[in-house]
């Protein structure tokens, strides 16, 4: 067993939420560069230029690239030989989020209750996802997820007879309905199979994949390719003003499911895909 103090996790999260909001990872900037080489519409090119100028300013001045500094999604892959010491893990994660958002002058967007709607003023609670994995390390992944793209996400329990064609139609329609609202060019995360909540979780986790990396299974990689081609036919383009690049990438994750079921979840991410990770 290896001891990891939860304060170390809190400090790491405080740093990662700031870094994520100030500086895009190279997988995202590379995807935006690819979009620039593919976009045919002049107005689309102009938007991509603004996006590039914006993330350059954010990096240089260490200011948030977007005013929606997001919900803090914290993914913890905890080695099964790790012993977490020093107090509650959940409290430590939330402490890290609160500290990072305050120190970084990030926007506090979280409410205590979806109906009463009082701001908690420290951007907690974080969304915490834990996985127990082999080993004696803790991997901390942070994604600061904006509300505009999250609101355009959809989940549907399709009948099995809908098959791949039905799933594809639902995914493409979800992106078309999102249009400019979700800040395209998008990263489209898809979860197929499992059950109601598993499909949503798969869609969310697919967003953490290196942007544009294909699924390791060639059959699923081909389906991802089919989806991005269909999505980029829509003409939505950067910020919905018309163009040939509506999605930067489509990531699909699948899981086995019940004989009655074909759940499909589509989790939309904007072009400002703010993710960071560290290993403790």
């Amino acid at each position: 067993m290896r001891d990891v103090h939860v304060d170390q996790i809190a400090e790491t999260i405080a740093r990662l939420v700031q870094d994520a909001n100030f500086k895009l990872e190279q997988d995202v900037t590379d995807a935006i560069s690819r979009a620039k080489s593919l976009e045919e519409a002049p107005v689309g090119q102009a938007i991509l230029l603004q996006i590039t100028e914006n993330y350059t300013i954010a990096d240089t001045e260490r200011v948030p690239m977007c005013q929606d500094t997001g919900v803090a999604l914290v993914f913890l892959e905890i080695g099964q030989d790790v012993h977490l010491v020093g107090g509650s893990l959940t409290e430590a994660v939330n402490r890290g989020v609160a500290t990072g958002y305050k120190e970084g002058y990030l926007r506090m967007s979280m409410l205590n209750d979806p109906i009463n709607r009082v701001n908690t003023k420290d951007n907690t609670p974080a969304m915490i996802y834990t996985d127990i994995v082999p080993g004696d390390q803790v991997k901390v992944k942070v994604d600061c997820k904006g509300g505009g793209s999250e609101n355009m996400s959809q989940l549907k329990m399709l009948p099995p007879s809908a098959g791949w064609e039905g799933a594809k139609r639902f995914i493409v329609e979800t992106v078309a309905n999102a249009g400019p609202n979700a800040c395209p060019p998008l990263i489209v995360g898809v979860g197929i199979g499992g059950n109601f909540d598993k499909s949503a979780l798969l869609a969310k986790k697919s967003l953490l994949r290196h942007v544009g990396a294909p699924h390791p299974d060639p059959e699923w990689a081909a389906r991802e390719q089919e989806l991005i081609e269909e999505i980029n036919k829509l003409g939505v383009g950067p910020m919905g003003l018309g163009g040939t690049v509506t999605a930067l990438a489509v990531h699909v994750e699948f899981f086995g499911c019940h004989i009655t079921a074909l759940p499909v979840a589509v989790n939309i991410e904007c072009h400002s895909h703010r993710h960071k990770e560290a290993v403790l």
Binding site: Q50, M65, M239, L241, G242
Partner: protein, 197 residues
């Protein structure tokens, strides 16, 4: 696509000079309001109280900025998604508001409102909050300070960059722009506007 420079408060003539698809650069005072501030303003009107700013010819910007770092006028300040204000926009247009800035699709009722009241819907680039903040020269809270990022602020902007989506004659640039690039075999086609030119 023309470049149009406008100064607030907007006159009818200025509004008529803006067409869907134009690049529109705004100079002068604009007022921030998002979901919570719109709800408060409508409640104020229903209670017979006056609104926190003069709405005649006013431009509202749907934004909740990040807090300024020491030495900054304002933090990052890009647009939020507009449809969440659809419920409140017709009343704001009746109050004399002539322009709103946000991003994304509007309801048919709101689109009809721009035509009926002679107003324009402008969008700026979502996620470009650091870049857009450079055009903001002054910022001060004028109402609902308890709402934090969602308080109503008066921003003094210089050539704040936008694109006109809906003009006062029913033009719809999302439809026009996307129609130009949609492929004939696309699974979904851009949504045709109900009314307009």
């Amino acid at each position: 696509m023309a470049k149009v420079y406008i100064t607030t408060p907007l006159t009818e003539e200025q509004v008529r000079g803006v067409k869907a698809g134009d690049e529109v650069y705004i100079t002068g005072a604009i007022y921030t309001a998002r979901d919570a501030a719109h709800k408060r303003m409508i409640e104020d009107l229903e209670a017979g109280r006056s609104l926190p700013f003069d709405t005649q010819g006013a431009v509202i910007y749907y934004v909740g900025p990040t807090p300024p770092k020491p030495g900054q006028v304002i933090g990052s300040a890009g647009p939020t998604t507009s449809y969440r204000m659809d419920k409140f926009t017709p009343e704001m247009l009746r109050q004399g508001v002539k322009g709103v800035i946000g991003k994304g699709y509007r309801s048919d009722e709101v689109k009809a409102g721009f035509v009926e009241h002679g107003a324009v819907y402008l969008v700026s680039t979502g996620g470009a909050g650091a870049l857009l903040a450079r055009t903001i020269e002054q910022a001060e809270v004028v109402a609902y300070e308890d709402l934090g990022a969602e308080a109503v602020r008066r921003l003094t902007v210089k050539e704040f960059p936008t694109v006109c989506i809906h003009d006062a004659s029913g033009g719809d640039q999302y439809y026009t722009g996307q129609s130009q690039w949609v492929k004939p075999d696309a699974m979904v086609k851009p949504k045709k506007p109900e009314a307009g030119e």
